[in-house]
Symmetry: C3
């Protein structure tokens, strides 16, 4: 009665059961055969229970990651000016919808080709996502992982998250439809292709690259795409003066931004926790718990580091940095939320918070106008988190981690630059100067966010 | 080791166990009897595990549907003018509370009479809801479904949802207490009686009417009650001019409205997903995943359809229609979120979004003033969704679906008209013209929503 | 096939399995031994499944209680004036972070010393929290409760909740860092020490004190600390006139306050529901459902009682009292959400709502300025709820309940007074009168909450 691990138990149960049923003669009489068959039900039920628990974890996690879409919407609505709030909200809702559609029609099969790679380990398969049939029979299912529907539901939300990261950076100065066109390319092809390299079993996975829940695979991807967009698009009117000085443009609604942060933080328990992909064994549920506790530790590390550092540098604690510090802490522990202890996780998150505080002025020096700070939070902290895996996970190799960061970065950044540039020089991506002054809510949406507050 | 389905497994396990325990003589010796008894523990545990998982699904779903109450409150607070925001919030909190009380004291037993119908298949039983005792023993429980407490918790939230739909339509011009009186009748009697026809095993269920999570049973019911209220109550002052033209009255806070939409969307995963009522088998958990993925597909279909259609019709993408388009997509797939594929679900949702865009001006033509658009979203899309079941579920019959739509509609609409009219001609339902001008926050609540923003 | 209860089943399964494996000779032949071993897998899996389900319940509950941090932030941001909103948000985020850090480094081991009390039953152990190793083996785990990580994750959120209660009361007139210093003492020592008396198995637990989810252990603790703070800190400038009259200072954003209430309400299903600490048996899941249904009943009781009572007293229904009435209802049922019936739970909550309406003016009489009403909601209703246990739980003893209320109250209140006083007379806790007039957002945070709304 040793606590043999799950795959062994499953294999053993199936083998034993097959043997028992195939060779009923071994039994001394019919009753004993019945007993045995009944006994096996125990093992079978356990396998099914594990499968159900794994699937439920991913559905649960998927709902929480969906909720992050609301978090991004609130965060960004709080960080833009009142005249662009409706537009920012609209972009978040439609972008999420486009991302889901693109991932369903193309992205999912690209990302998880199974054995049907178009270019082995590099480019997945073409096809739309198909869930299992209604009323799946237990004996028709492969019970080693989880349901297709739960996997799809979980993964589609990750794809939408990568897209959400972009919209904050390019806020207040981009037209709706070109933005949605970029999102379609990002979520149908760019995100799924590079994600297949790791999570689809592609070449980065085979090389031993480690990225538990996606510091690189999700967050840096959104960050690179956002950086390319910010460069091609240029800064908002009035953000940078000719002499190189910066005009701060404060966000219009701090409670919304903090609400967005809390929503994202909550969603991250699903983002990281359900990326364990299993909770059907004692080991798995203990790991899910570790992941969630470390996720929280990373966030508080980032928030406190940002609070202390802004107090030192600016003499006042800057709320917007604390918000982004917490988010950077979350991004930082996302590549490896399992192996660190609580203290190390806090420290990894804290360094993420420091990175944000120090890099926001740096971006301004290069006149890269990132409205919500998504590039420091998701790209810089994402790179840091991917590197930090080597400090706690003995299976990680610094060379492989760096290679993956560079390969994914080049792939996403170059394609994003090209797509943004094509959009710019064909349909155009930027509203007229008058529209930008008037605000996009009036110019493009026709619905003001706060019509009575002025 | 066949994968026999759950009811069979349960029945078989119990039968075998009974036999084994009743006829110990069959065993060759005492030890074997012990083994068998122990073996059965496996089957027994599996049944208990299924029962626990089913119950947890409904508690989980119930929490998500509870959360929809917050969604309605935020949506409506965002869509009304600042002078009526506190009133709208107050109505949502107190209405939810009245609905829960009424459902507990009367509604639950009316809706689920078991074998104790007052009028067989038409009117349920009188009695208050009673949960199982503390510390329920496994052998004292019927393990075929789920706990009474989880069922009650899930169902009470559905009842509250039906009521929430009404408050948005009649906003800005109704008095608090008469509104709460209407809600009490709706949730104690109207909703539960018609719900018993389908979900309590009543005559519509016996006729083969299909409504998975309540496009008709929940959403159209709220919609019909809202329509009756809007007719009896009349439009807001200044909404319609004598020449038939319409004065748009924009909502005061778009971030709140979008937050409300996201909350409702999130809650819908519980609303539809947990309406599978089981996740204790492989087939059930796969179905729950299908339902959640399709629920999302319906929402994005509705949002994108509304975005495209308003861009075509009005040259600008109207955020308020995108919000209501997503919600209409959700309502549309609610009658059958299981059998469609992802593409079909998106399409069903998209048609829901189109219905909203086209029907809002229609209501204005009839001078029916629906402040938040609840009638198009919940009633019209609810009817569409109920019809759409026939396209993907071979068990559905178009005649039965239409009959149920009409029967439920007539029942709810007529009673609602009568109750609203009685309230109007006795206590009065409408504040004075001065109070309406001043705003209900000052007149009825005494708490302004945004006292410093003016 | 009796439904023997879980501990027995676990013990029996292990004992039988040990015997069977230790004494294979009993078996008639090798095959039968194999059958038996396999059969036992059923029992084993059941124990593991229970352990997994218990652990997941606490992770699920922990996420919901985390979400309450967002609820407090929104509630308080809605109840303060616009000039102090950023500060209130900042305090909530940093306070949560400090609480988590303090609980991790000191609090958790103080609260759950196991057998390693420093002063037996009174003061726990010194040490930092350590989770189980990655990839816990099933046979290395004690499967009688839940994973350490899930327990830690759940409990850390409770500690943060106790701290959150304080920040609302002392809002608009306290400096950031001294406030955080107080929170560090509260969450590292004060909360964990008194919590160990009950939940760590200390002297109050041994005496039979009952507090299911913490009306006293969590809510009154926050309330006492807040009361001490309000006394030492004094009222806001302009709140009380020299003649004893009160200037009402209305909150700036009612939708935020209501959102906060709904978030807290939602989180409370985890707070109370997961405090069952188990859902691996039929009895436990039924109890979890009872707890959640009763939690909702308490909230609606509180909301409706506050609505009715303010309508009677003030002729208008006061939304702020309805919000606090619902919260007081939740606090009131927290000490015993399991044993009451739904009607009794509603009544217990209703009395909580009445307490709030009646005690807010009382605090003003003593010039205790509680900005959000946290003292009535969490302290007074917490005391009431702790007493109310005796009405439905036959194991409760009124003397023990009162003793615990007094002992915990004296301990927390006196230490809090001392810590607040030390902070006041060393670093100072109150901003200058000019800073208070200008608002703390400008003075301490440097980020205005709504820079464009004025």
């Amino acid at each position: 009665m040793t606590g043999f691990n799950t795959p062994l138990k499953i294999a053993g149960g199936i083998a034993l059961a097959s043997m028992l049923l195939a060779l009923p003669a071994f039994a001394q009489d019919a009753e004993v055969a019945d007993e045995v068959a009944e006994a096996v039900v125990g093992g079978e039920a356990a396998i099914q229970t594990q499968f159900i628990l794994n699937s439920f974890l991913m559905l649960f996690g998927g709902i929480l990651v969906f909720w992050m879409a609301a978090g991004f919407a609130m965060l960004e609505a709080g960080f833009v000016r009142t005249k662009n709030v409706s537009m920012q909200l609209l972009k978040n809702v439609t972008m999420y919808s486009v991302a889901c559609l693109a991932y369903y029609v193309i992205g999912y099969m690209i990302m998880y080709p199974g054995d049907a790679w178009m270019v082995d380990g590099v480019i997945g398969a073409i096809g739309i996502a198909v869930l299992e049939p209604v009323g799946l029979a237990a004996d028709a299912a492969d019970l080693t992982y989880a349901t297709v529907s739960s996997d799809f539901f979980f993964q589609i939300m990750f794809c939408a998250t990568a897209a959400s990261i972009v919209s904050g950076t390019v806020a207040e100065r981009i037209k709706l439809w070109p933005f949605l066109a970029f999102v379609a390319v990002l979520t149908a092809l760019v995100y799924p292709i590079q994600a297949s390299w790791k999570w689809g079993g592609g070449f980065l996975d085979q090389m031993g690259f480690l990225d538990f829940a996606g510091s690189t695979v999700v967050h840096s991807v959104g960050g690179w795409a956002a950086l390319a967009g910010a460069i091609i698009l240029g800064a908002r009117k009035g953000k940078y003066n000719a002499d190189g000085s910066v005009n701060p443009i404060p966000g219009s609604n701090m409670p919304l931004a903090v609400l967005g942060m809390f929503i994202l933080w909550m969603g991250w328990y699903g983002f990281n926790g359900a990326s364990q992909l299993a909770m059907g064994t004692v080991g798995d549920i203990a790991d899910v718990g570790r992941v969630m506790a470390n996720t929280n530790a990373g966030a508080i590390g980032g928030a406190l580091a940002a609070a202390l550092l802004t107090a030192i540098i600016y003499k006042k604690v800057d709320l917007t940095f604390v918000i982004n510090g917490a988010l950077a802490g979350l991004v930082s522990v996302t590549a490896e939320p399992l192996t660190p202890g609580l203290g190390t996780a806090s420290l990894i998150g804290a360094i993420g918070g420091v990175i944000v505080v120090l890099s926001v002025p740096l971006l301004d020096k290069f006149k890269i106008d990132d409205v919500v700070g998504a590039i420091p939070v998701h790209l810089f902290a994402g790179i840091w988190g991917t590197i930090a895996v080597v400090f706690t996970n003995p299976d990680a190799n610094i060379g492989t981690q760096l290679l993956a960061i560079v390969v994914v970065g080049l792939f996403v950044f170059i394609i994003s630059l090209v797509v943004w540039a094509i959009l710019k020089f064909t349909v155009g991506i930027r509203p007229s100067a008058e529209d930008e002054d008037a605000g996009l809510d009036v110019a493009e949406v026709g619905v003001e966010a706060y019509p009575q507050f002025k």
